[in-house]
Amino acid sequence: MLDFFTIFSKGGIVLWCFQGAGVKESFTGPVNALIRSVILQERSGSNSFTHERQSLKYKLDNEFELIFVVGFQNILTLTYVDKFIDDVQLRFRDRYKNELVQKGALMLLNNSFEFEDDFQRILREAEESSRTRSTTYMRAFQESEKSKKTVKSMIETKGGDKGKEQGGKKSKSSKKELEKPSPPGQKTLQNGNQGLTQEEIIQKKREEFIRKHTAGPTEKPSLPHIQRGRRGGGGSGQRNKQTKVFPVFDCLCMPGFSFYANKHLVCLPPPPPPPPKKGGGGGGCGWVKGWVGSKSLSQEDMEPVLEKMKEHLIAKNVAAEIASQLCDSVAKKLEGKVMGTFTTVASTVKQALQDSLVQILQPKRRVDILRDVMEAQSQRRPFVITFCGVNGVGKSTNLAKISYWLIENGFTVLIAACDTFRAGAVEQLRTHQRRLNALHPPEKHGGQPVVQLYEKGYGKDAAGIAMEAIAYARNQAFDVVLVDTAGRMQDNAPLMTALAKLIAVNMPDLVLFVGEALVGNEAVDQLVKFNQALADHSMSEKPRLIDGIVLTKFDTIDDKVGAAISMTYITGQPIVFVGTGQTYNDLRSLNARAVVGALMKA
C-alpha cells in the first residue's frame, strides 16, 4: 500500500529506506520537493504534502535531527498513516538510541540501520488494525437509537417527562465514546448496547440520569473504557454494582448529536497525549531543570512564548494567518529539541523564529535583473517586465524609478502604456519619459533616446498594445520593455481575466506584483487571488505566475515591516525592489537582516 518510507537526517544522509513492491520511481524527487516547499518555506504546520500523484506525510524528530517521510498514492485514503509514523518513530528511537545519542555525521555514515523487520512488523500491525476497524459498516435502522425511542418519548411535553426522556436520550449518546473526533461512528459498535433489550437500556439510562443529577454537576470525565463494565450484565442489580459514578461526556462536535445542546453537556477536547518524559527530577526542581541543560521542549512550554510572539508579529503588520502559520511551523521545528545549558525557552523560540524569518526573506533563486537583461541582449530579444497590482500602489512611479536604474546601467528602455483606463495614465508616463530623457540626453548615448513611450491612447485592448510594443522593441533593438498595466481589485473577475490574458499571450520574462507596505491582512488575499487568476486563465501547462514583488511606500512605515513577510510567505517569491520615496533615486533592494531586526525589536 505504501509507496515508500524513508528516514534521513537533517544533514541529508538517508539512514534507512523502504520502497514498496512494484514501485519503480525513486522517491528522491518527491522528498526533495517536500523539503523545499514545506520545511524550507516554513509551512510545516500541517504534516502532509501532495506532489503530483503522491501524498506525503512526514514527521520531524528534532532531538536527533531526523526526518521520517512516508509516501503513498493520492487516491488511497489510508487512515493508519499518522499513527503508523508515530509508532515507527518511537521504535526507531528506542532501538537505535545508543547510536543516535552520539550525534555527528560519522555515526550516521558508519552505522547501517537494519530496520526492515521492525518496520514490516509495525506495518502489518497498522494494516491489521485498520482492517478490523474498517469492517464497521453503517448501522441498520434497528441498531440506531432512534428506533429505540418510543414515539411518545419524542413528543416534547412540558414538565418532568421531557427532562427524563431527554436524559435517557442523552445518556445513550454519552455511551458513544470518543477518543478522536474522527473517524466518527466507527468505535460506537465496540461498546454499544449490544447485549441489552430496549427497555433495559431505557431503564438503565434513567437511573444514570438521576444519579448524575444527584451526584452534582461537576464530575470528572473519564476514559470510555469504564463503560465496558456495563455490557453483558444480567439484571439491573448487577448492573448497578458495576456502574461507576463518572459518566462520559460527549463532544458536541460529533455528528448527529448536535441537537443535544442543552446545558448538561459539556464539550471536551479529546484527552491530551501524555507529556514527553523530561529527564528525571521531581516537580520541585523543575525550575532548576529549566536553567541547567537537557530539558527537551514540549508544546506546553512553547505555547505562551509563541502566543506572545504571534501577537507581536501581528502588531508589526504581519497578516494574522501568516503569523499563526509561522508560529505553528516554528513549534513543529522545535518540538522535542534539547536545549543547551542556561538557555531559556523564550530565547530558544525567539532565535528559531528569527532564523525562520531570515530564511523566508532570503530569495529562493538568484535575483539579478541586470545579468538577465544582458542574457536577453545576447539573444537579440527585449527583456519584458510586467507590473501588476491593485489600484494606487505605485506601479507607474516605481516603473519610472526602475527605468531610471536601467538607464543608469546603460540599457535602452521602451515603456508600454497598457493602462488604457485611468485618466492621465499615458500623460504621466510621457512626463516621466521626458524627464528621463532630459537627465540622459540622447546626444550622450549615440543619438538615440534612452527612453521611449509606446502608447495607443485610451480605451484600447491592453494585451494588444503590449504585443505591438514588444514587436516594436524587437525591431528597434530596445533592451528592456516595461509594461504598465491598470490597477485592478483582485475580486474584479473580468479585469483579472484581462490581466491574465495579457500575461499569457505576451509571456513576459518577469511578472512583478507591486504591493504597498501599508497593506495588512489584505496582502494575503490580493496575492492569492492574483496568482489564482493567472493560473486559471493560462492555456499552457506551466502558467506564468508572479515572479517577484515590488514593495512600495516603505518610507511611510516605521518598523511595522510585516507586509514583507506576508507577501514573501504567500508566494514564495523574492522581493526584488523596495520603493522608499517618490524621486528616481528611491529604489532599494531588500536587506533581510535589517527587516527581521526591525520585526523582532520589542
Partner: protein, 254 residues
C-alpha cells in the same frame, strides 16, 4: 568650627577640603586595618585578587582569539553532490542523500605523509540557507571545496558564477585567503563538461559580474585556486569506488 564661613564662594572650597579630609581619613583607616590584620589573611586576599585578574585575562585571550582554521567547507549549488562527496571522503561509502537542511561535520584524515586531520563540513546548498551557514563557518575555513554539477553546468552557469563571486568577494574570505578547490562533480555522466571548460566559462561570467570590463582570470586572485574533476558516483552506481583521487590529492597538499 569657626573657620567655616557662611559665604557662598567660600563654601565650595570648604567642601573640597572636607572631601580631601575624609579621603585621607579613610586611607589612614585602611592602612591601620591592614597593619593590624594577620599577614596570612592579607596574603590570601592578595592571592585571591590576583587569581581573579589572571582568570579574566586568560578568558579574554581565549575567547577572542582567532579560531584555529582547520575546517574544509563543502559548498555549492543545490543538488551538486556535496553530501555524497562528503560521505565518500569521510567513509568511502555510498549513501542515498536528500536535500540537506543543516550542516554535517566529521573529521577527515588527509592522505598525505603528514596525515593532518581536518574537519570536513558539508553546508546546505539551498538558496535560503546558504548565506547563514556560510556566515557561521567562513572564518574557520582553511580550504573551500566548491562543488559544481558538470552535467547541467551550462544551464546554471549564471547561478554558479554568482555564488562563486559572492564567496570570493566576502571580506572574511579575502582576509584569510583559504585555498579554493573547484570540484567539477558528476563526471560519470557523459554530458559532463571538463574542468577546463568550466574554468573558462566562469572567467567569462566574472567579467559581467565584476563590471570592470577587462578580462578576468582565476590566477589573479590572492588565494590558490584549483580546478579538478571528480565523480562521487562511480560508473557502477552504488558499488565501486568513486573517482575522487584528484580531490584527495589536492586536499593532501593543504
Amino acid at each position: 568650627m569657626d573657620e567655616r564661613s557662611v559665604g557662598g564662594d567660600m563654601g565650595g572650597k570648604e567642601d573640597a577640603k572636607m572631601l580631601e579630609n575624609t579621603v585621607k581619613q579613610f586611607i589612614e583607616y585602611v592602612r591601620k586595618q591592614v597593619e593590624e590584620q594577620d599577614p596570612v589573611f592579607l596574603i590570601s586576599v592578595v592571592v585571591a585578587l590576583a587569581a581573579i585578574i589572571i582568570t579574566c585575562v586568560f578568558l579574554k585571550y581565549f575567547l577572542t582569539s582567532k579560531t584555529v582554521r582547520s575546517a574544509v567547507l563543502l559548498v555549492g549549488l543545490c543538488d551538486s553532490g556535496k553530501t555524497l562527496l562528503f560521505s565518500r571522503l569521510v567513509s568511502g561509502k555510498f549513501k542515498r542523500t536528500q536535500t540537506s537542511i543543516t550542516d554535517s561535520s566529521a573529521p577527515y584524515k588527509a592522505k598525505s605523509d603528514k596525515g593532518t586531520t581536518w574537519t570536513l563540513i558539508d553546508l546546505p546548498g539551498h538558496d535560503s540557507l546558504r548565506a547563514q551557514y556560510l556566515e557561521k563557518f567562513k572564518s574557520a575555513a582553511r580550504a573551500i571545496v566548491f562543488v559544481v554539477d558538470s552535467a547541467i553546468f551550462q544551464k546554471e552557469v549564471r547561478d554558479v558564477a554568482e555564488f562563486l563571486y559572492v564567496l570570493l568577494t566576502d571580506s572574511v574570505i579575502c582576509r584569510n585567503t583559504p585555498t579554493l578547490l573547484v570540484a567539477c562533480n558528476k563526471q560519470d555522466i557523459t554530458m559532463a563538461k571538463s574542468a577546463k571548460l568550466i574554468q573558462q566559462q566562469l572567467e567569462k561570467e566574472f567579467v559581467f559580474l565584476g563590471k570592470k570590463g577587462k578580462d578576468f582570470e582565476f590566477s589573479q586572485l590572492p588565494m590558490r585556486v584549483e580546478f579538478l574533476e571528480c565523480s562521487a558516483l562511480s560508473n557502477k552506481a552504488e558499488e565501486g569506488e568513486a573517482d575522487i583521487k584528484s580531490l584527495e590529492k589536492s586536499l593532501a597538499k593543504l
